[in-house]
């Protein structure tokens, strides 16, 4: 019962913050509401007993990515911050809302009508031990992920260099 109450609180926080995030016209507020969404998702991971995943979500997303956004907003859009915000076109909002309602209904129907959700078994909530996670992350055997781990570290390096090159100021010629 406690789990259900926690889930409802988290769902309300996530959905409410997400709606505010896409409807507010000020970008700084959108970034702040995105922070709440990210914390809510981390709470969901804790609720699923993936504590490592929740910690990674908080430290990478809520700590790193949001910080990048706040810096970019401060660098880029001073005008947007000071109230001169984008205007939402009525027709675009209408068509976008219609499209999203249809898509959402379809996806929820497909997910709920599927047979595979009946294979969900009421498993005792046990935390995945950290030792297993670490061994699977850097092991080279079956169902172990050292190749993906190496690849993502190379990918992050490439993205750092690419970001630096792209945002570098061109020197005057």
């Amino acid at each position: 019962m406690a789990n259900m109450i926690m889930f409802c609180i988290l769902a309300v926080v996530i959905l409410g913050s997400a709606v505010m995030c896409v409807t507010t016209t000020r970008i700084m507020r959108a970034a702040t509401f995105m922070l709440f969404v990210l914390f809510g998702v981390a709470g969901l991971y804790f609720l699923l007993d993936y504590t490592y995943l929740g910690a990674a979500q908080i430290s990478v997303y809520a700590g790193g990515v949001t910080m990048i956004y706040v810096f970019a907003i401060q660098l880029v859009s001073k005008r947007t911050l000071q109230g001169l915000t984008e205007r939402m076109k009525g027709s675009r909002v209408l068509w976008g809302g219609l499209l999203c309602l249809i898509g959402c209904a379809t996806v929820i129907l497909v997910l709920l009508k599927n047979k595979f959700i009946y294979t969900a078994d009421a498993v005792a909530d046990v935390e995945v031990p950290m030792k297993n996670i670490g061994q699977a992350l850097v092991g080279a055997g079956r169902y172990e992920y050292v190749l993906a781990f190496e690849f993502i570290s190379l990918f992050l390096l490439a993205c750092i260099i690419g970001g630096l090159v792209v945002s570098r100021k061109e020197e005057e010629k």
Binding site: V41, K89, F155, V166
Partner: protein, 103 residues
């Protein structure tokens, strides 16, 4: 008492389409990027919930979510660099100002 798996499905589908709605309606580059982050988070919730509630013995979904978090962090860093460059060249952060690569 565990939470039924349908709750996670409905929550992540709603979050996904809120993100899609933001992506369709907003015209500010950073707001569109924030909407993409919402979509990615919805997908991550689904991965973790599938793994925990349908296949609790394995860890594939958890690692997929972990790598997805890393990839989206890198993606947002590169996108922010591009946006800063666009703002420096066009003096605007709206997608309507970038039309050179449209056709």
């Amino acid at each position: 008492m565990t939470i039924p798996v349908e709750c996670y499905f409905v929550l992540s589908a709603l979050l996904f389409f809120i993100g899609v709605f933001g992506f369709v309606t907003r015209r500010n580059l950073i707001a569109m990027l924030i909407s993409i982050e919402l979509v990615l988070n919805a997908v991550d919730i689904n991965f973790a919930a599938f793994n925990r509630l349908l296949y609790p013995g394995s860890m594939e979904g958890m690692f997929m979510t972990l790598f997805s978090i890393g990839v989206s962090a890198a993606e947002s860093a590169v996108a922010i660099a591009i946006i800063i460059n666009v703002y420096r060249n066009f003096r605007s952060d709206s997608v309507d100002s970038i039309k050179n690569m449209k056709w």
